[in-house]
C-alpha cells in the first residue's frame, strides 16, 4: 500500500511566470514557450506596458527611500541568493558564478550610500552661493539583459541601487525567474524590478519607443541591427541609451560607470551670506 501510493505520485512541474509589480502573473497573451523542457511565459508588448506602469508606480518611493535602506535591501538579496545555491546549480549555473553574483550584490549594496559623494560635488563658484551637484536616479530603465546570471545581476544592481526601477527582458528565463523569486522574498518593494521572459526582438522595440521609459540598457542585445533599430526608436523620446561597444567580461571589476550612467546630475544654487 505505501509503495503503490508512492509510485502513483505525480510530479509537480513548475511554470516559470513573469515577475511584474511584485507578483508572478502569466503573460496577458496566454502564450508560453518551452525552454529545456520547462514551460515559460512568453511576454507580449502589453506585459511590457504593464511592467512599465508597475515600475513607474514604484519609482518615487524607491528613490525616496534612504540610501542606507536601499543598501540593506540589496544586501538582503545577496543573503537570499546564498540560500538558493542548490536551485541555481540545478539550472546549470556554475557555483563560481553564483558566488560572483552574490558578491556583486554585496558590492553594489555597499555603494548605495557612497555614490552620491563620488558622483556629486560641492562646486566652487564665483558668487555668494553654495553650489551643489547631486546625482539623482534617471527613472524607469528598460534593460535587455545578458544571458548569464552574473550578467543579469550586473545590469540590474547598478540601476536599482541608486533609486531607478527596471523592466528587464531576460534571455535566460529559468535563472532570471529564480532570481525574481529571490527578489520577491528580499524586501524589494513590488515594481522595483520587473522581469519579462520572451523574445527581446518582440518586446524591446516597445520599451525603446515608450514615452514613460527614461533609459535603455542594451547590454544583452547581440544583433547589431536590432541594437541600431532600438537606439533609433529611443531617440524619439531622448532616452539615455547604454550600448556596450564590445564584449563585456562580467567577472571584471565593474567600476562605477554602470551606476553613474543611470544618474542625472542636479545642480542647486543656494544663496548664502546675506
Amino acid at each position: 500500500m505505501p509503495e503503490s501510493s508512492t509510485s502513483a505520485r505525480l510530479a509537480v512541474r513548475k511554470t516559470y511566470k513573469l515577475y511584474v509589480g511584485g507578483k508572478f502573473p502569466r503573460s496577458e497573451s496566454g502564450r508560453t514557450y518551452l525552454v529545456d523542457g520547462d514551460n515559460v511565459a512568453l511576454a507580449s508588448r502589453k506585459d511590457a506596458r504593464d511592467a512599465v506602469l508597475a515600475a513607474r508606480a514604484a519609482q518615487p518611493k524607491w528613490a525616496g527611500a534612504t540610501a542606507y535602506n536601499r543598501g540593506q535591501v540589496l544586501y538582503r538579496i545577496a543573503e537570499m541568493v546564498e540560500a538558493r545555491r542548490a536551485e541555481f546549480a540545478s539550472l546549470g549555473v556554475p557555483a563560481a558564478e553564483v558566488d560572483a553574483a552574490i558578491d556583486r550584490w554585496v558590492w553594489y549594496a555597499g555603494w548605495s550610500d557612497k555614490i552620491a559623494q563620488v558622483a556629486g560635488n560641492a562646486n566652487p563658484v564665483a558668487g555668494p552661493f553654495f553650489n551643489i551637484s547631486a546625482p539623482e536616479p534617471t527613472g524607469v530603465v528598460g534593460v535587455i539583459a545578458p544571458s548569464s546570471l552574473l550578467g543579469l545581476v550586473s545590469v540590474i544592481a547598478p540601476a536599482v541601487v541608486t533609486g531607478n526601477t527596471v523592466v528587464v527582458v531576460a534571455s535566460n528565463p529559468q535563472a532570471a525567474i529564480t532570481l525574481a523569486e529571490v527578489l520577491a522574498t528580499s524586501d524589494v518593494p513590488g515594481g522595483v524590478v520587473n522581469i519579462l521572459t520572451g523574445k527581446a526582438a518582440e518586446i524591446a522595440p516597445w520599451l525603446a519607443s515608450h514615452d514613460d521609459v527614461n533609459a535603455l540598457d542594451l547590454s544583452g542585445v547581440d544583433d547589431p541591427e536590432l541594437a541600431t533599430e532600438l537606439e533609433r526608436a529611443a531617440a524619439g523620446t531622448l532616452k539615455r541609451v547604454l550600448r556596450p561597444t564590445s564584449g563585456v567580461d562580467y567577472t571584471d571589476d565593474p567600476g562605477t560607470a554602470a551606476m553613474t550612467a543611470l544618474l542625472e546630475i542636479k545642480t542647486v544654487w543656494h544663496p548664502k551670506g546675506f
Binding site: W206, S209, H210
Partner: protein, 316 residues
C-alpha cells in the same frame, strides 16, 4: 399610478402617498443578474478604428471636473483651456463636453469658455452633502446660473430619501429646476449612499418624474462612486422612462472612472442597453478629471504607434 406619474410630469401636484405607491410599485432589481450583466458587457474587446472612435466619443463626453477646496482661479482657467483643446499637440482632438466647477469659480471658467460650445456645469444645492435649508440651495443655484453656468448639478437630500420622504425630495428638485431657469438640470442621486439597487431605481424615476434632464450617480466625495451595475440600473430607468413618457433623459456616471478601458465599458453598456440614441454627449457624460489624460494617452498611442507617458500631458 400612470395617472399619478403623468400628472406629475405635467407639473400638477399630487399626494406624496401616490408617489410612494408608484416608486414602490417599480419592479425590484435582480442584484445578481444586474451585476453579472454589467460584468459580461465589460468583457467586450474594442480595437483599432472602433477604439479610436470610442476614445474620441468618450473625450467629447467628459465633464472635466475640479471640485476641491484648493481650487484657485488659475487652476480653473488652466482646466478650462484644457477643455477647449485637450491635446495641444493634435488639433484633431475634439473638445470635452463641459467643465464642472464650484459656483464660486463659475465666472472664472465662463470667461474662458464663452462662445466655445463647451458647456459650463456647476454643482449647487450645498454640494456634496445637500444638508442645507431649501432657501440656501436655491440661492446657490441662482448664483451659479447668474455667473454663467448652463448646467446645474444638484444633489438630492439622501437623508429625506432614505427616510421615505419622497415628496420632499421631489419638491426640492422641482424648486431647483425652477431656480435654474434655462440651465440644464443634472440630479445627483449619490448612489453610494442609497444602499440598494432598488433605491437607485426609485431615485432615478423620482428625479425623472420631477423633471431632471440628466441623472448622475455620484458626487465623487464618498467611498463608493460610479460602478457599472449602478449605471446599468440607471440606463434601464432612462430607457423605460422614455418608452413610457416619451421624454429622453441623460445619464452621467461620476467618480472612480479613471481609465480608457473603464470608459469603453460604459459605452458598450449604453449601446447594449439604450441603443445609440444615448451615445451622444447630449445624453451621456463622464464626470471625471484623471480620465481625460488616460484617454489622451491612449489616443496618442493609436496615432503615433508607441506607448505614451504621463510626462507629456498636463497635471490637473
Amino acid at each position: 399610478m400612470t395617472a399619478t406619474a403623468t400628472s406629475r410630469l405635467s407639473g400638477l401636484p399630487d399626494s406624496p402617498a401616490d408617489l410612494r405607491t408608484f416608486l414602490h410599485g417599480l419592479p425590484g432589481v435582480d442584484k445578481v443578474g444586474i451585476e453579472a450583466r454589467a460584468a459580461a458587457l465589460g468583457t467586450r474587446s474594442v480595437k483599432t478604428s472602433s477604439k479610436a472612435q470610442a476614445i474620441d466619443l468618450a473625450i467629447r463626453m467628459v465633464d472635466l471636473t475640479t471640485l476641491e477646496g484648493a481650487d484657485t482661479p488659475g487652476k480653473v482657467r488652466a482646466l478650462s483651456a484644457k477643455a477647449l483643446r485637450p491635446d495641444p499637440a493634435d488639433p484633431t482632438c475634439p473638445p470635452v463636453a463641459a467643465v464642472c466647477v464650484y459656483p464660486a469659480m463659475v465666472p472664472t471658467a465662463a470667461a474662458v469658455l464663452a462662445g466655445s460650445g463647451v458647456h459650463l456645469a456647476s454643482v449647487a444645492t450645498a454640494f456634496p452633502s445637500g444638508q442645507a435649508p431649501l432657501e440656501v440651495k436655491l440661492a446657490d443655484t441662482r448664483d451659479a446660473v447668474a455667473g454663467g453656468a448652463d448646467e446645474i448639478d444638484m444633489v438630492i437630500s439622501r437623508g429625506a430619501f432614505l427616510a421615505g420622504d419622497y415628496g420632499k425630495v421631489f419638491d426640492e428638485i422641482v424648486a431647483v429646476k425652477e431656480a435654474a431657469g434655462p440651465a440644464h438640470l443634472k440630479v445627483i442621486l449619490e448612489t453610494g449612499e442609497l444602499g440598494t439597487y432598488d433605491n437607485v431605481r426609485r431615485a432615478s424615476w423620482l428625479a425623472m418624474l420631477a423633471g431632471a434632464h440628466f441623472i448622475k450617480t455620484s458626487t465623487g466625495k464618498v467611498d463608493v462612486n460610479a460602478t457599472l451595475p449602478v449605471t446599468l440600473v440607471m440606463l434601464e430607468a432612462v430607457r423605460d422612462f422614455r418608452e413610457r413618457y416619451g421624454r429622453q433623459v441623460g445619464v452621467k456616471p461620476a467618480g472612480g472612472i479613471r481609465t480608457t478601458k473603464d470608459a469603453i465599458k460604459y459605452l458598450v453598456m449604453i449601446n447594449e442597453t439604450c441603443g445609440d440614441d444615448w451615445l451622444h454627449p447630449d445624453w451621456f457624460r463622464f464626470g471625471a478629471s484623471s480620465l481625460l489624460n488616460d484617454l489622451l494617452m491612449q489616443r496618442t498611442k493609436l496615432t503615433t504607434g508607441h506607448y505614451a507617458g504621463p510626462d507629456y500631458f498636463t497635471l490637473d
